[in-house]
Symmetry: C2
Subunit: 480 residues, 2 copies
Amino acid sequence: MSTIRFLEPHAGVLAKREQIVSGLARLVPDDCLVTEERELVPFETDAFTAYRRVPLAVVLPETTEQVSAVMKYCSEQGVPVVPRGAGTSLAGGAIPQEDAVVIGISKMSCILDVDFANRTARVQAGVTNLRISDEVSADGFFYAPDPSSQLACTIAGNIGMNSGGAHCLKYGVTTNNLLGVKMVLQDGTIIELGGKHLDSGGYDLLGLICGSEGQFGIITEATVRLLAKPEGARPVLFGFDSSEVAGACVADIIAEGIIPVAIEFMDKEAIDICEAFAHAGYPMDVEALLIVEVEGSDDEMDAMLRKIIAIAKTHNVKRVKESQSAMEAAAIWKGRKSAFGATGRVADYICMDGTVPLGQLSHVLSETSKIIDRFGLRVANVFHAGDGNMHPLILYDVNDPVEAEKAEAAGMEILKLCVDAGGCLTGEHGVGIEKRDLMLHQFTETDLNQQMRVRAAFDPAWLMNPSKVFPLEMKMREAV
Amino acid sequence: MSTIRFLEPHAGVLAKREQIVSGLARLVPDDCLVTEERELVPFETDAFTAYRRVPLAVVLPETTEQVSAVMKYCSEQGVPVVPRGAGTSLAGGAIPQEDAVVIGISKMSCILDVDFANRTARVQAGVTNLRISDEVSADGFFYAPDPSSQLACTIAGNIGMNSGGAHCLKYGVTTNNLLGVKMVLQDGTIIELGGKHLDSGGYDLLGLICGSEGQFGIITEATVRLLAKPEGARPVLFGFDSSEVAGACVADIIAEGIIPVAIEFMDKEAIDICEAFAHAGYPMDVEALLIVEVEGSDDEMDAMLRKIIAIAKTHNVKRVKESQSAMEAAAIWKGRKSAFGATGRVADYICMDGTVPLGQLSHVLSETSKIIDRFGLRVANVFHAGDGNMHPLILYDVNDPVEAEKAEAAGMEILKLCVDAGGCLTGEHGVGIEKRDLMLHQFTETDLNQQMRVRAAFDPAWLMNPSKVFPLEMKMREAV
């Protein structure tokens, strides 16, 4: 991998490290402050593990007031701040830099209030995604966004990256399921946005916060929407002779106006890897697989499936297999949701996250495989096809620097391909460090300058998660 | 009504009126510029007709480039700009001021591209809301947000106010159905946000634009989501003995996790007025009416209705009446959608737009009627109950200044009541002029200062729709 670059560290901050650590120690209890080198190491990277830097210190506050005190102090001292949820970012969103204080919200993990009448839950922002659904499941409800990392990732991180998941085709991503937040601004001010209602007058700052990658403040509480669980749900497998045909079938299903809960795609490489891991009963004699999940009453599911099968037949579908039991359904999803982990067992990989208009799925799949061939690499495609959110996993050997560089170059070409096809750089993983240089492929300088002006309205001194999202050159040029 | 107040007009702008008009004349064709006093009068107000001011000039451009040229010129000359769609704002969002140039997008009303494969339509921003559904209806699609003014209101206005409508309970409001915009910034820069995809990396400026009440730029094109029409739809009437009981029934339906397409509420006053106008077959022997619309296959609708009727019975529902034909269904909706117009035939009124958490519906309805009684006025309640978006129409005589002032004071009390119940000032009409002074009841000064900083990132000179949304005092204090 090419060497990681950050904005130049603040020399003044590095010079007064001891003083800053003492200052922080006055603001939070002892067990909320990490300053020993060996204890800082776990915070040096996130799930984008190719890059790492040890931060100046880590604070793990227990209350919003503590977050506020720490932010105010860092603001006064000119210390950069890197917010951290569970550290599951695939784009390097939580990777620190050596002059930064990491503020992690993992200790703030209580469910504060569940209100079934209004179908909302208020939670501390360090609660894990799956915990919310677990809490309300017995009463027949769930929280919809379901990233594959949902067992570990926090709501704060979900909000920072506007996370999606397999079932977001029907239910929308985080921004569609978030009603309010309590957050701490860079100067320590505590603000509340939204609430239990849908729209609060004034600008939609809540929507702006969602997906702002930790650059507008630290979220400490969130109010989210709960949905009623469907009467039933049934995943069905459709096997095809080629990826392009499977892609065309997805486009036709959506064009017909049918919205299943999920349409997930796997190519041959992904099927092999996931089946070996999860024994999900995936058909092995096909080149591409769609997992289509329908839900509702039995009648509804039957009606929707009839339409989908009719469309699949026009694409010469080779295998159609309905899950016959709850256990079979669980295995099908286990295979899909563990795709990244299962891939990690057979090879190192980087995961791209481009999106494309559905009409372009076939074209982009076939061009992707040409790019991969040209670099002499392997790819496993496993992604949210229904909303055009591709996840090519580019396989390589992390100990072979030449191959690593090829993988990175191929990934960048694939993301440019997505943008050129009318899509965009990231569906749900965020820009982080990984894609910041490609932002100029997606946006004009004019667009990015406007985004930077909005950022400055929250963080004029550019101290929040400073080396992320924007091309470093643009920021450095401005600083001159 | 109390006298309208605006930010102090720019004396320099008023002094060089002739020069500004000549400058504008060089930028657009003759028939795109309105400068004669008598031709300016139609632009002096919008649907919030109590207040009016004649603007300096009106420009009705035909292209994005013309909008850009006019904006650049106004920016250079320091001239305030007031964007205008169809002028249907109920909150005074399009009311001009005497030193402002109104830029109306009514001439830009073409549908540019319909893409069924990706279920999107790209339109010029002056197209009317209903036009889009009309265009795609034969192919089985529709555009979901449906404000009562949908025959007249433009997509640009819908985006500015983040408009909703009766069917938004299921389908979401404008922000949930908007994929991209082309817009012109205050300095004339043309930017594009979003596209055919869902999330583009970087901050969610598209979401921020939606509901920004014309203060961030002028929208000239929009890409919106198309949805497949349901197999069938059936409105059903439920009559109750009191408003409070009907409100409690709504809360129970939603708490059960059932999401019909629409749950509309009418009290006795509204029923009488609407039935006299539309002959919709509303029951006349009840105190409150719910219009609940379900959709899907016949089986689905039957199943959902069974559940809803069971809940209604626990609230001693007095009448249940299913529409028996498409004509009957149309009449039911005609009655509801013409509620404002029908009310206008019997009295002058102002329409409030507060929202409340559903669990508070009964409480707020009963407190509302106490407030109205205290002022010796009459009220007709007709609103989107399913998403807690109340529309009390306060009836009064516009020629009686004492009564007019009472109506305004009662309205303000009702909005404060909504906020205090955990709701907010506006569900879909926007803040505009009407509610700007109440913003300090909903938000803290800290919150509003942050919103003003974000605004300044788009319009540092405060020239876009300048007297709206924020309490005038906050802006004036800052200017000192």
